[in-house]
Every structure is written in structure tokens, then in C-alpha cells.
């Protein structure tokens, strides 16, 4: 108890450890696995990423030349990033933002 007492009183007078988050945005930590974007100039719609995705967050429609990516489905494991031969998937350090609706990120290309 005396230990607790001193601790409690000490933290009473010292500054709180709290980060005032929404007002003070922290610097993103490099190396964090975050949201992905497709560089449609490089992507060849090979569907490798779709195959490795554990949660079916990436859907590729080769005929329509379209990629649908759901950040609300994504596990942020970056297996797709590793599997992409074309280095077409660009990883971010921030995961998707909260939203009222589960909107898909849609990527289109005119190539091929």
C-alpha cells in the first residue's frame, strides 16, 4: 500500500501520460502495415494477390479491368504486397479510416 500511495500521489502532481489524440495527431510509425493502393500502371491483373488474400478483401475482375479492395475486410497482413510480382501494390502505414458505410476502394485500368 505505501508503494501505491506514493505512486498515486506522484502521478497526481506529474503530467498525465495521456496523448490528446484527436487534437494532436501522432506521427505514423514507419514500417506499420496499413492500407494498400494499387498502382494500376504496373498491375497486370494476374490475380496472385486475390489468391493469397486470407480474407477475400481483394477482388479482381480481369474482364472489366477492375480491382475492388475492401479495407473493412482487409487483415493488413500484406501477403499481397509480398506476392505481387509487379510491385504494383503500394503499402501505406495507416489503416483505413472508420466510416458509416463499408465502401470499397475501386481501381480501374485502361492497360492491355
Amino acid at each position: 500500500m505505501p508503494k501505491m500511495l506514493s505512486k498515486v500521489l506522484k502521478s497526481l502532481i506529474t503530467k498525465p501520460a495521456t496523448v490528446r489524440y484527436p487534437y494532436v495527431k501522432p506521427e505514423p510509425v514507419p514500417g506499420t502495415r496499413g492500407k494498400i493502393t494499387f498502382d494500376m500502371k504496373k498491375c497486370d491483373l494476374c490475380q496472385d494477390c486475390e489468391r493469397v488474400c486470407p480474407s477475400l478483401a481483394i477482388k479482381i475482375f480481369p474482364d472489366e479491368k477492375r480491382i475492388e479492395y475492401s479495407p473493412f475486410r482487409c487483415l493488413y497482413c500484406h501477403l499481397c504486397v509480398e506476392s505481387c510480382m509487379q510491385m504494383a501494390i503500394i503499402p501505406d502505414v495507416v489503416v483505413g479510416a472508420p466510416a458509416f458505410e463499408k465502401v470499397m476502394d475501386i481501381f480501374k485500368t485502361e492497360r492491355r
Binding site: 500500500m1 501505491m4 500511495l5 498515486v8 500521489l9 502521478s11 497526481l12 506529474t14 498525465p16 501520460a17 495521456t18 490528446r20
Partner: protein
């Protein structure tokens, strides 16, 4: 002093202020607790937001009697406060507080919910643990003032604290139990999880919960006011004294874990009884009566 302002208007004003000061104190309580835990904590007005919000929620009740009983808790707490500010009988005040508690427990027993039943039972046990100490404190005040009326405190030559320091400390235990602070918060802690959900408060929601919360503030203020009376001629010092004990109870809340009911009973009874009896014996020996 038959001054109508002093004898009627002031008490009424004080009574009306009771819930507000109580809510403010609850806000300060949460702020200080947060700082003790190295947090920032909610705004000081947070308890008021909570109560207003609860009042506006869609009402869910367990039966038609529950709101009445919840209102009884608030009403009897206010009535006890009225007894204090109008300087009536202290024993009467005690009975009224007990009535308020029984209202709360009855309201929690009203639904067939295991959590609120256990909470209610534990609330009764905490009543069991503080009531004897409180009766003894009141009897001690009687020994000092030779009157059960609150007015007697004001006619003393010395402040009550100098005559009854032990009783003052014992009342500190009552305060902690009444505020439902750790280590005596078995019936329901004010927030966060515990093993019986919210204990005695589990089945309250919306406006019933708001009334219970208000009643809780009033009761906290009640005990603090009794403490303040320990330095009655100069109420300002008395208020300071009460606030000091309030702060001590917050510190205790933060450094002690919750006790079981057996331990709670043993602690409050042994410490309370010993302190008060030692104090009274000393009072008799020194011929202070």
C-alpha cells in the same frame, strides 16, 4: 435567532444546492481519480451530462414500482438533507438515510435479476457495516453536546473535532462506504466492469438511473455536511475539513483493492467501534461531558 432569512431561506437554498454541489464534487472526484491514474479524465461537469442524458433516454423499467422506489431513494436522501439543514434530530436523519437505502435495495430486488439481487444483498451488508458506526457517531455527538438536535453542535464552546477526533475518523469510513468507493465498493462501483455487472444499479436505466445517481450525490453531500459540522462555529474550516476527508477517501479508493463483505464488516466495525469507544472513554476521563 428568529431571523426568517437565516432560519428558512438559507436552509432551502442550501438544500436546493445540495445536488449541484454533489454533482460537482462527483466531477472533481472523477477528475482527481483520473489524475491519480495518470490520466486527464472527464470534464468536471461530466456527472451532469450523464444525468441529463440518462433522463432523456427511452425509459426501460422492471415494473411499475421501480421508478417509485428509485424516486424514494432520491426523495428520502433529500429529506435527510432537509433534516440536517433545518437542524432537526440527528437520529431522525439516520432513520431517513436507512429508509432511502431500503428504497434502493427494494428497487433492485424488484426485478428477478441475479446481478441486482446480489448487488442488493451486498448493499444491505454495506448498510449493516456503516449503520452501527453512524449511530455510534451520533450518540458520541450527543455526549459532546447533550442534545440529539443538530442545533446543539452550534452551541458548543469547542469545535466538535477537538472533542471527538476519533469519531471524525470513524465517519470517514462511513463516507467511503456511502460513496461506494474501494475498498468498500462490493455492492456496486460507480463505473467500469465488476463481477456482478453494476451490482445494485444493474436494473436501473434511463430516468430511474438518473434519480438514483442524484440520490447518491445528495447522500454523499449529506455525510460530507455532517463532517463539516465538526467545526460548526466556523463552517468554512468545516468545509475544508470535509473536503480533506473527501480527498483522503479518493486516495484510499485508489490504493486499496476491494474487500469481501466479511472483511468489510470486520474492518468498519473494529476500526469504527474502537475509534469511537476510545474517543468516548477519553472524553469521559477528561471530564469533557
Amino acid at each position: 435567532m428568529p431571523d426568517p432569512v437565516l432560519s428558512y431561506a438559507l436552509p432551502v437554498l442550501l438544500l436546493a444546492a445540495f445536488p449541484f454541489i454533489g454533482g460537482l464534487l462527483r466531477g472533481i472526484d472523477r477528475k482527481i481519480t483520473a489524475h491519480m491514474q495518470s490520466r486527464i479524465g472527464p470534464p468536471v461537469l461530466q456527472p451532469f451530462y450523464d444525468v441529463i442524458k440518462l433522463w432523456g433516454k427511452k425509459p426501460f423499467i422492471t415494473s411499475q414500482f421501480q421508478p417509485v422506489l428509485a424516486f424514494g431513494y432520491l426523495g428520502f436522501s433529500l429529506m435527510a438533507a432537509a433534516i440536517l439543514v433545518f437542524r432537526l434530530d440527528l437520529l431522525l436523519l439516520l432513520f431517513t438515510v436507512a429508509t432511502a437505502d431500503v428504497c434502493l435495495v427494494a428497487a433492485s430486488f424488484n426485478s428477478k435479476s441475479p446481478y441486482s439481487h446480489i448487488g442488493g444483498m451486498r448493499e444491505l451488508l454495506s448498510v449493516l457495516s456503516y449503520e452501527p458506526v453512524m449511530i455510534m457517531s451520533i450518540i458520541s455527538i450527543y455526549f459532546a453536546t447533550r442534545s440529539f438536535l443538530v442545533g446543539g453542535i452550534f452551541s458548543l464552546a469547542y469545535p466538535l473535532l477537538l472533542l471527538l477526533p476519533g469519531v471524525f475518523v470513524a465517519m470517514g469510513f462511513v463516507l467511503i462506504v456511502e460513496m461506494k468507493k474501494s475498498p468498500f465498493d462490493i455492492s456496486a462501483s460507480m463505473h467500469a466492469h465488476q463481477e456482478i455487472v453494476r451490482g445494485v444499479f444493474t436494473e436501473f436505466s434511463g430516468y430511474t438511473m438518473a434519480m438514483v445517481e442524484l440520490g447518491h450525490w445528495v447522500k454523499m453531500m449529506l455525510i460530507l455536511s455532517i463532517m463539516a459540522y465538526f467545526w460548526a462555529p466556523n463552517l468554512l474550516i468545516g468545509v475544508g475539513l470535509a473536503l480533506l476527508l473527501f480527498f483522503v477517501s479518493l486516495v484510499v479508493d485508489n490504493i486499496y483493492p476491494r474487500l469481501t463483505w466479511q472483511r468489510m464488516l470486520k474492518t468498519t466495525w473494529t476500526f469504527g467501534f474502537t475509534l469511537i469507544l476510545a474517543n468516548l472513554v477519553a472524553l469521559f476521563l477528561l471530564g469533557g461531558v
